[in-house]
Amino acid sequence: MLLEVSGLETFYGASQALFGVELSVGEGEVVALMGRNGMGKTTTISSILGLVRGRAGTIRLGGKAISGMSAHRIARLGIGLVPEGRRCFPNLTVRENLVAAARKGDWTLERVNALFPRLSERRDQYANTLSGGEQQMLAIGRALMTNPKLLILDEATEGLAPVIRQDIWAAIRKLKSEGQSILVVDKTLSELLPVADRAFVLEKGQTVWSGKPADLTSELQDRYLGV
């Protein structure tokens, strides 16, 4: 397994947000992480990256224990994050956002621009003046530019126009076909489930279900996700 999380418990100050999360992503696998609002998806991702510290449990990346490492070292081991809420650098131009943290590999500026032509049009504009959707593309492009082994997308299609969203799902499928491992959080099940190889469902900070998307019956969907 590329990423293995087990027994993860995380606190914000005194209040506990995760109560034992189990999660794994294999090489070349696309894994969906699901759950209602506030169930701990983002917290799980933050814990993996060392942005918040888990208090118990283990996290392994490529077999190596990474809990306790600083965020930049974890990222350098090969995680590319597209964070919730985009978090583009507002005071950098689009191009600067893309190259600032880039690492060598297959993904280059040209390739990202080909994936999102809109970004190359807005190349020299500061990111704080981009539209919401443009910022989302930028965040994805920025993560790809670090050439990660594992790409983590936290609500990466939020706020995107349907055509663009289709482009992004197409991009995800393309990445998948090239063997890229991806962990995805997304609310649109109809688009997410077909791409995912496996899925995990969180409830109140715990993994309550995992398996193949096909096994996530509409009854289960109703129980855990309210649809």
Binding site: M39, T42, M137, E158, G159, A161, V163, I164
Partner: protein
């Protein structure tokens, strides 16, 4: 046909060479949900910003309840009854969810220069605020600081604040964003009822919601409105499909 509540005439706004709003005219009629859709960067948020007074148009007029509000600042327009939500949540992050909503209640009462009476004991503030939180399903989380809410919860709080203003028109900028599948379903139902309180200008990329809710849809592309019509008209419009909807129809 009833007089429009909100009426925008020939609005223009350039950012340098970019025509972010290019001669836009638009009406919001009583009781309707008017959806505004369009590709990313088409100028939807910029338009909402101009209507709410966050940025000034280069030219054009904005009439609200029959009055030209173009010269008014953001706060003054809100007092006139324009309630908006932000695409990217904008909250008083140290305040609890409750106090965020109470602030709106107090603003609606127009009484922010009272220096002595403690707000937390003021039922004329707390009760309406709690009621609103109840409506969006955040009552359980009322005492939590906004900073500690999850993303989706913060999005709900955005809507709660707009509700608490009791506005005469709503401007919602992607309210569905960040809602889980269940949240989207609930919110769709909720907005459906809300149109009876005040008409809604709804910017949204969630087409399921838009198609379920909208009385009319306007499509904004590169700052221009390329089409306005009913759900069916828009769904069938080839130009709209190409520029925006893709296979989603």
């Amino acid at each position: 046909m009833a007089e429009p509540v909100l009426s925008i005439r020939e609005l223009r706004k350039n950012f340098g060479a970019l025509k972010a709003t290019d001669n836009v005219s638009l009406d919001l009629r009583p009781g309707e949900i008017h959806a505004l859709i369009g590709p990313n960067g088409a100028g939807k948020t910029t338009l909402i910003h101009q209507i709410s007074g966050a940025i000034r148009p280069d030219s054009g007029a904005i009439e609200f309840l029959g009055e030209d509000v173009g010269a008014l600042g953001m706060a003054a327009r809100a007092r006139k009854g324009l309630g908006r939500s932000f695409q990217i949540s904008s909250l008083a992050s140290e305040f609890s969810a409750l106090r965020n909503v109470m602030l709106a209640v107090q603003a609606a009462q127009g009484s922010s220069f009272r220096f002595f009476k403690p707000v937390m004991h003021d039922t004329s503030l707390t009760e309406p605020a709690l009621a609103v939180l109840e409506r969006v399903g955040l009552a359980q989380r009322a005492r939590l600081p906004a900073a500690e809410l999850s993303h989706g919860e913060r999005r709900k709080l955005e809507i709660a604040i707009a509700l608490a203003l009791g506005p005469k028109a709503f401007l919602f900028d992607e309210p569905m964003a960040g809602m889980g599948p269940e949240g989207s379903k609930d919110l769709t139902g909720f907005l459906d009822g809300l149109r009876r309180e005040a008409p809604i200008l709804l910017v949204e990329h969630d087409m399921d919601a838009v198609f379920a809710l909208a009385d009319r849809i306007s499509v904004l592309v590169y700052g221009r409105i390329i089409a306005t019509g009913t759900v069916d008209e828009i769904r069938r419009d080839p130009e709209v499909r190409r520029a925006y909807l893709g296979e989603h129809a």
